[in-house]
């Protein structure tokens, strides 16, 4: 290999089309399709007693109105429970269209199909649904009280209770010299990608095939769900993920009701049908995350070493639990962070509420876990009068302690074992990057000038690259193009670029000759999906393995053609040649021709390849038993368990006590996701993650009122940050390879968001001395807290 693409800041392949406005997002096609719109519940909890569409009949262009009564077969059943768990004793999932009862504002009640969206909404507006409102359960306090029920047959609103433990935390705390108890909470937010969800279906009656385009994070998952629910053979369903305008977790849910209803209607009507989520719908029907309350008991010794930790927490799963209890399991298992724990018990209760269903949003339970652990660390430091960095340093797992086994079960059902890392090294670097050691003087000087500065620090470990597998297909065409397909999807992470970099290195070609397709079941039918910071690890390794197999085949074929030993060959610049003799070589395009005994002279490569044709052995079949035609290979990567990335954030903030505002003066990130495939892209992921973290810490929340109305369901009222609210982080990378995969890489997609609430809470607390036990914190809340402290003297 003469050029190494892995590790380079390669410009993205995707951008050529995206900056021209030539991307293909869901709503960029199907202009003549019928449009669907949904009648959604205005009540958080109600019985439906009737529906009258009479007035809609007068809307010119109306095609159909569907309710639960119209749904056939499995489409009339509750949607699937994606991830069952033995402790999920009361799983409840929604119907594709509400059946007699609605459980959150925004639940789909009726589907309207019309000639265009304007008309569909006209008709939807004229449909009258009769409701008998029921008492709504909104928020964790109401859910825990249990006197009102979301689902009549779920006592106490409890979906699941789970405990995991390491050692004996209660006994350790009982004998610990110091014990603290804390209550910590985090509120709801949502992914809110700039492009909402969308589904576009076409039924081909002649071929008996369904083509479904959906803005999803898992095309194979949607395909399996749709095929099963609509009673179609898997092979008759093609699911294609177009360009996706962001996902951040919410688009991994599958199937959303619309993903089965739209193709069903398309088949029934024999017409293309498309539904494009509007922003209000996104707020009230795309999933949310983050709402949790936690109670912590921690025992520690005089130097801050944690002896025992007990955490009980309550997770708001919303109206339904299609994703099972994955989120609280992640909180429970990622809460320990980079610290040595000998005695840890965690118990969580997952509770239903009459609000939008909760599934992972970037970070997925980790921001809450990190908030709990890091706030606990800060409190221990404060109780002992020790430095916050010092207490952390005492508890960090050392670089020589890997693999570090927590003897617990991670989100993927595999053992929670950290594979590698250098946590003390990260701590040193983040302290340096943010100016930790000099800050006391800076703070004092600022205070003297009437300014309230504070510094905070937060550390995390993130399980990434969860299995079970991803696969890839690499095909060198006779024109020299390298076609790569992997089944997982892309939402802006630059997969076309980084996978091309990996393949370019493995095959000795230019990344510009590598064409990557993701999320198209026609090209690669086996895949899991893009979530849990797994794409680079899973598909990255899969494309590497598939490319290696192609390389081996290319070398074998070229060796025969060149009459050279395979070991003497290398590939560079798209040519297989004898090492040290670049003139004695054969281009991969011609190797591709040679790989297929059928050589019609469709191309000059095929004509030229004849030159290298070796004399055929009359006793050997043109395609021997152990061979296949074509210069292509398929391979899968399946890890024994997750690989654990890590990082630390530190921030300096300035609080204006008059206004309660928080300004971020410095933001430092050190990050270890193993070797970086493309540092530019990793940094972009961190920038975006930090922005979402800041949003979750200071701005964004779901403002539900007591009746379960979402009062801020628009970008006017939901405070997504603009340019002016987001810091420019300083970033340093550490690269500790994972021993678990061929490329040594770890995931990077979610890292940026995880510690931000913990970090900013610590910095605000340091600035003004008010305890930050729940996030987000708004200026009025902070102002009230400061005023209360002042009043208390």
């Amino acid at each position: 290999m003469t050029t190494q693409w892995f590790g380079e800041r390669v410009e993205r392949r995707e951008d050529e089309r995206l900056v021209r406005g030539a991307g293909r997002f869901l709503d960029d096609a199907g202009h003549d399709a019928l449009a669907a719109a949904f009648v959604r519940s205005p009540h958080a909890h109600a019985r439906m007693t009737g529906i009258d569409v009479s007035d809609a009949l007068d809307v010119d262009g109306l095609v159909a109105v569907y309710t639960w009564d119209d749904l056939p077969g499995r489409l009339a059943d509750p949607l699937p429970l994606l991830i069952p768990h033995p402790d999920l004793t009361h799983p409840r999932t929604q119907y594709a269209l509400a059946r007699g009862e609605v459980n959150h504002v925004g639940e789909a009640v009726a589907m309207v199909v019309a000639v265009d969206r304007y008309v569909a909404e006209d008709a939807a507006d004229r449909i009258v649904v009769d409701y008998e409102p029921l008492p709504a359960v909104v928020g964790l306090d109401a859910a825990r009280a249990g006197d009102r029920l979301v689902h009549e047959d779920v006592p106490g609103n409890v979906a699941a209770v789970t405990t995991q433990q390491l050692g004996d935390a209660a006994s350790a705390i009982a004998v610990a010299p110091h014990v603290l108890e804390l209550d910590l909470a985090m509120e709801r937010s949502l992914s809110s990608p700039l492009e909402g969800r969308g589904v576009h279906a076409r039924w081909d009656d002649e071929d008996g095939r369904l083509r479904l385009r959906t803005s999803t994070q898992t095309s194979t998952g949607v395909r399996a769900a749709v095929a099963n629910i609509l009673g179609l053979p898997d092979v008759a369903v093609d699911v294609i993920t177009p360009d996706v305008g962001g996902g951040f977790g919410t688009k991994v849910v599958h199937p959303y009701p619309e993903e089965v209803l739209v193709p069903w209607a398309a088949r029934l009507l024999g017409r293309e049908v498309k539904w494009v989520e509007d922003r209000y719908e996104h707020f009230v029907s795309a999933t949310h995350e983050r709402g949790q309350q936690h109670h912590v008991r921690v025992g520690f010794d005089g130097d801050g070493t944690i002896l025992g930790l007990e955490v009980d927490f309550w997770h708001d799963t919303g109206a339904y639990a299609p994703y099972g209890i994955v989120l609280p399991i992640i909180t429970a298992t990622q809460l320990p962070g980079p610290y040595r724990h000998r005695n840890y018990r965690v118990t969580f209760t997952s509770l239903y509420t009459n609000t939008v269903t909760v599934t992972p949003y970037r970070g997925a339970g980790r921001p809450q876990g990190c908030f709990v652990m890091e706030r606990t660390m800060d409190r221990i430091a404060s109780a002992l009068g020790l430095g916050r960095d010092e207490v952390r340093a005492r508890n960090l797992i050392g670089p020589d302690e890997f693999p570090y086994d927590f003897h617990m079960t991670f989100q993927d059902g595999r053992p929670l074992i950290y594979d590698s890392g250098d946590y003390p090294g990260l701590l040193d670097r983040v302290r340096e990057l943010v100016g930790w050691d000099d800050f006391a003087a800076e703070q004092a000087a600022a205070l003297a000038a009437g300014r309230r500065l504070g510094i905070g620090l937060a550390c995390y470990v993130e399980g990434t690259g969860v299995g079970p597998y991803e696969g890839a297909h690499v095909h060198v065409e006779t024109n020299g193009r390298v076609m790569v397909a992997t089944g997982l999807t892309s939402q802006g992470q630059g997969h076309e670029t980084v996978f091309a970099q990996i393949v370019a290195d493995e095959l000795g070609v230019d990344p510009g000759d590598v064409y990557v397709t993701t999320g198209d079941t026609r090209r690669f039918p086996y895949a899991v999906g893009t979530y849990a910071s797994r794409a680079a690890v899973m598909s990255g390794n899969a494309v590497a393995l598939a490319a290696r197999a192609v390389r081996a085949k290319a070398v074998r074929i070229a060796a025969e053609a060149l009459e050279a030993a395979p070991d003497d060959l290398e590939i560079a610049g798209g040519v297989v040649h004898v090492r040290g003799t670049p003139t004695r070589g054969i281009p991969l395009s011609q190797v591709a021709v040679l790989s297929n005994p059928l050589r019609y002279s469709f191309s000059k490569e095929a004509q030229a390849a004849g030159v290298f044709a070796s004399p055929s052995d009359p006793d050997v079949a043109p395609v021997p038993d152990d061979d296949e035609p074509g210069l292509e290979a398929r391979d899968y990567y399946s890890p024994v368990r997750s690989t654990f990335a890590s990082g630390m954030h530190a921030a300096v903030v300035e609080v204006d006590p008059e206004l309660g505002t928080v300004a971020i003066r410095r933001y430092a990130v050190v990050h270890d996701c193993g070797p970086l495939i493309n540092p530019m892209i990793v940094e972009g992921q961190i920038h975006g993650g930090v922005a979402q973290g800041v949003a979750g810490a200071l701005l964004e929340r779901m403002a539900y009122d007591e009746e379960g109305n979402l009062a801020n369901a628009s970008f006017m009222d939901f405070l997504m940050p603009y340019l002016s609210e987001v810091p420019t982080p300083e970033i340093a990378h550490s690269e500790t390879p994972s021993p678990l995969n061929p490329l040594g890489i770890k995931g990077a997609g979610e890292a940026g968001v995880i510690p931000v609430s913990a970090c900013l809470a610590a910095a605000i607390e340091d600035a003004v001395g008010v305890r930050m036990d729940r996030m987000p914190i708004s200026p009025p809340e902070l102002w009230v807290a400061l005023a209360a402290r002042e009043a208390a003297g």
Partner: protein, 184 residues
């Protein structure tokens, strides 16, 4: 798809009289091309149907089963209909049940149900308008247009407001009262 609906109907004496006249019924039935009396009280109905975006020529028969019930069966471009209709509660309610298939069935149960009711209401209101000076709010036929109310509705009637099933349900009302009248 299965259709099952029950709704109140209003048929004052003047309408009952009008129902005795197939020509008036044909004129009052939106989209109707013809209503012809067949053997044993059977009616043959031909009409242009339009429900939501489904439209086309449809023909069917209405066959008495007993004093309160008729079977309606027919087909055409809009689809196939196989329904029974029953007058309940001393002629104050009409109950329509059965199967609808083809394009009509794709419009959804709620649409067909509403269209059936709309049609029955329109038919009765048109008949009332044709036989009395006060027009029903649903009627688009002026009293002076009564002789060709059907044509007027075809030209000016609300688009997408008439279902095959509803037509047949309307016809049921006709048959129901015709039979009662002939039984006297």
């Amino acid at each position: 798809m299965r259709l099952s609906t029950s709704f109140p109907v209003t048929a004052p004496p003047a309408v009952l009289t009008a129902l005795a006249d197939p020509a008036q019924v044909a004129a009052a039935l939106p989209g109707c091309r013809s209503v012809e009396a067949g053997a044993n009280g059977r009616l043959v109905v031909v009409l242009d149907l339009s429900v939501a975006s489904v439209s086309g020529l449809w023909s069917g028969t209405v066959t008495p089963v007993d004093a309160d019930t008729v079977c309606i069966a027919g087909s055409g471009a809009p689809g196939n209909v196989d329904l029974t209709a029953r007058a309940d509660g001393d002629r104050t309610r009409l109950t329509v049940e059965g199967e609808v298939s083809g394009p009509l069935a794709t419009a959804g149960t709620a649409v067909l149900t509403a269209a059936v009711r709309r049609l029955a209401d329109t038919l009765l209101a048109n008949l009332a308008a044709g036989s009395a000076p006060s027009a029903s709010p649903h009627s688009t036929a002026r009293p002076d247009a009564a002789p060709d109310a059907g044509a007027a509705i075809r030209q000016r009637g609300p688009a997408g407001a008439v279902a095959a099933a509803a037509v047949v349900a309307g016809a049921v009302v006709v048959v129901r009262w015709r039979r009662r009248r002939s039984a006297r």
